[in-house]
């Protein structure tokens, strides 16, 4: 959240500043400088950078980094980022979930240009609706972020910047085509048009199909459902000469998946003797607007963010039906000014978040409306280049949970120009969407038991999740033999005051209840980056998680979380535009809870999954900045789970369970594609 906060603030301010800078072209005042600084940081050479001046540690993930995973949506794009783990939610749906600081994806706030994006019901399915081709860059930060972006983020924030229509050196048209050996085809178009110096527009199109029935692990279930996905978006920017900026956009997404047993056909009857099938249809419409105004008084501006979302998903897992509709409205008004000089920046504002959910799970309806008006203030103090801090406080009133306060603090200390210490502490609160966030467990015959307090008006009768996150990190940049490098260490501790525990310790059920005991996550990461020889970048990273929750009465390691992960990436670029990229990683074993064995009708004792290696490689070549062709391979070790579906032969019996996906479901995948840029 801290990251979000800062990003939101910075993002909106940067936009405001940009407007101002554009309007006042040539006037070399301090605001413009500040803006330039924001922009330059993003454009440096290394694929992922860590900012040095920001009180929040932000990993800036550039387009070049994103290209390392050639076809990618948001969840897949993190497969080459050590800070984020990506894993299948289950062995049937093909959906992938991210994990940061050892906490599941929904604990990370994902924003598009600082407006909250895939929240609520979309926390798993929504990530596929942001294709990598749309993205200009991302900023990833751990820990609670800025209070400006809300109170929700527990583990961190990922802010996604889309390609901008007004960046003159960007291509007018970008076309991307992709084909994989496993049967995935993808096409993306990004078009920008600068109509005049004030007005510009973008059009984004994405189509994806998975049209080959694949069962590489031979369990009779499709490894990946057949899929059709379309995403389209259009947005407009207007920069007025008087420092006013207006932007607005719409996005629509549709996807349809059919999977399950190989001979299942859409709409098939799901009873014993007939094939077990999975279907998921998702529709999502978003609209958003940002209005910013830069005032005459230096460093003073105002911004308003508005967003509306309609998300409708309808899923069928065998004879389990889950459908949900989410309607959300978001408004955030930010006012920024300086107190005396730019060393003291004050931000304040008002927000309102409305979420309306209507879900049906196994014939039971769950409806709720959350209305959360709030106010926030944030003070940033800069004392030379060496020390700065950001202290924020917000108060929100939740129509069901009542009033709550969200304090957050970020401190940065740089004893030397190349050494930075940072520390953060903050509170976060969120409502768990127990079904949407745990759709993976629906790919089983587990019974879902919602153990809230009877008669409690709370969503699902459960309390909100409340967590405190503290973190420290240290970044040291260095130059060895005239080439640059950086070493960084970060450590975060998340303590849950309340959590909605997802308990799968009993093999035939998933139980949801309020935490009764302790729950925490320790996360340590060490990373080294160095340009080993000219234009050859090396990255080594290691991360360690210790994530434990009280299940019933016992404190246990959270299942399906890998304690260790080691990572190495080498990227090389030649002068004649060949690019080589290679990633190898090792993922340690994960705890598997007690499971049901159909063959013997007995319980299998709690155990650990094997550890495994993963390798990805890609080669690309571009010609005169117009055409680029790429070929690559994923999961080159061809490692996969051979029995990812327990009780695969008897999908309607007790003990059928496809939710224990601890490793890849599919083997090696090879792909080829091209990018065409028209300037």
């Amino acid at each position: 959240m801290g990251s979000i906060y800062k990003q939101l603030l910075l993002g909106s301010m940067a936009i405001l500043l940009y407007t101002y800078a554009t309007a006042q072209d040539g006037k070399a005042d301090s605001t413009k400088k500040q803006n330039l600084q924001e922009v330059t940081v993003k454009k440096r050479r290394a694929a992922t950078q860590i900012s040095m001046l920001d009180p929040l540690k932000k990993e800036l993930i550039s387009q070049r980094e994103l290209l390392k995973a050639a076809c990618c949506n948001l969840s897949e794009s993190f497969e080459t980022t050590p800070s984020v783990d990506v894993a299948f939610t289950d062995a049937v749906t093909g959906y992938k979930q991210i994990q940061m600081l050892g906490l599941a994806g929904p604990y990370t706030l994902i924003t598009r240009e600082n407006i909250p994006d895939t929240r609520g019901l979309a926390s798993i399915t929504g990530l596929t609706f942001t294709p990598g081709t749309f993205i200009e860059g991302m900023q990833l930060s751990k820990g609670t972020g800025s209070v400006v972006n809300g109170y929700e983020s527990v583990a961190g924030q990922i802010n996604v910047e889309w390609r901008k229509p007004f960046e003159e050196k960007e291509e007018k048209l970008h076309l991307n085509l992709y084909q994989s050996s496993q049967g995935r085809s993808e096409g993306n178009v990004v078009y920008r048009n600068q109509i005049n110096e004030h007005l510009s527009t973008n059009v984004f199109l994405h189509g994806k199909g998975f049209w080959v029935k694949q069962d590489m692990n031979g369990d009779g279930f499709l490894d990946q459902p057949l899929d059709r996905t379309f995403v389209g978006a259009n947005r407009w920017f207007y920069f007025a000469p008087n420092g006013l900026e207006i932007q607005g956009g719409v996005k629509g997404a549709y996807s349809s998946n059919v999977g399950g047993q190989t001979n299942y056909e859409r709409g098939g009857e799901q009873i014993i003797g007939k094939p077990w099938g999975f279907e998921l249809n998702t529709e999502r419409i978003e609209a958003w607007a940002k209005i910013g105004k830069m005032f005459k008084k230096p460093g003073t501006s105002m911004g308003l963010q508005l967003a509306g979302v309609y998300h409708n998903q309808d899923a069928l897992y065998g004879n389990t039906n889950y459908s949900g509709v989410q309607r959300s409205m978001y408004a955030n008004l930010i006012y920024q000014t300086i107190l005396g000089n730019t060393n003291h920046i004050m931000k304040g504002g008002l927000s309102n978040l409305i979420d309306d959910y209507d879900e049906t799970f196994r014939m039971t309806g769950y409806k709720r409306t959350e209305i959360v008006p709030g106010a926030f203030a944030e003070y940033s103090y800069t004392h030379s280049d060496k020390f700065n801090l950001v202290a924020g406080l917000r108060g929100d009133y939740h129509n069901i949970f009542g009033a709550f306060a969200t304090p957050r603090l970020h401190v940065r200390y740089a004893p030397l120009k190349k050494s930075v210490f940072r520390a953060s502490v903050g509170r976060a609160q969120r409502t768990a969407n127990i079904f949407a966030e745990n759709m993976g467990y629906m790919a089983s015959n587990r019974s879902f038991m919602v153990l809230g307090d009877a008669g409690n008006p709370n969503p699902y009768g459960l309390n909100p999740e409340v967590a405190w996150n503290t973190g420290v990190n240290f970044t040291q940049k260095f130059t060895a033999d005239y080439r640059d490098g950086a070493v960084s260490v970060d450590y975060y501790y998340t303590h849950f005051q309340n959590q909605v525990v997802v308990d799968v310790e009993e093999p035939r059920s998933v139980r949801f209840y309020n935490l009764n005991g302790v729950s925490f996550a320790n996360a340590l990461q060490v990373q080294a980056d160095y340009e080993l020889i000219h234009n050859l970048d090396l990255r080594l990273a290691y991360r360690w998680y210790d994530v434990k929750t009280t299940y019933g009465t016992a404190l246990k390691e959270r299942p399906l979380v890998a304690t260790h992960r080691a990572f190495a990436n080498i990227g090389y670029e030649t002068r004649n535009k060949w690019k080589f990229d290679y990633t190898v990683q090792w993922i340690s074993s994960k705890r598997l809870p007690m499971l049901h064995d159909h063959a013997t009708n007995s319980f299998l004792a709690e155990t650990y999954s094997p550890s495994f290696w993963q390798m990805n490689a890609q080669i690309s070549k571009s010609w005169n900045e117009k055409l680029e062709v790429y070929v690559g391979g994923e999961n080159l070790t061809n490692f996969m789970m051979h029995h990812p579906v327990l009780g695969a032969a008897h999908p309607y019996d007790n003990g059928f369970d496809a939710s224990m996906a601890w490793g890849p479901i599919m083997g090696a995948n090879y792909y080829v594609g091209l990018r065409y840029k028209l300037r």
Binding site: K43, K169, A480, D481, Y482, W586, R679
Partner: protein
């Protein structure tokens, strides 16, 4: 785990071997014309001729700082390569033909930086 430790050890010792100290090294700064982030990349790449250890162009000050081995190259060779890429310097003017090859936004004689 053991495999990883060995792997890391090898990699880090490799870094150590490369990081030898250079006695035969000088660092010089020249004024080189250009305007944007795209120019920066082009100038630095062009300056990186054989014998150069590091090349960095300051976008604000229009100064190119190069570290190179005098036994292997000299400033003439470096700035000639930069001029060939279309960027004039205090010692070497880019030909009109090479300048024209630059993308429009990099025409530093007429355009100012906008990023």
């Amino acid at each position: 785990m053991k495999q990883i430790i060995i792997f890391l050890t090898i990699l880090f010792s490799a870094v150590g071997t490369w990081a030898q100290d250079g006695k035969d090294v000088v660092t010089k700064t020249y004024k080189v014309d250009g305007n944007c982030g795209m120019c920066k990349k082009r100038i630095e790449e062009a300056a990186f001729v054989k014998g150069v250890k590091r090349a960095e162009w300051d976008k604000e000050k229009h100064l190119l700082t190069v570290t190179y081995k005098p036994s292997k190259t000299d400033d003439d060779a470096i700035l000639k390569s930069v001029a060939k890429a279309g960027h004039s310097s205090e010692k070497m003017e880019a030909t009109e033909a090479d300048y024209k090859k630059l993308p429009e936004c990099c025409h530093y004689k007429t355009n100012t930086c906008n990023d």
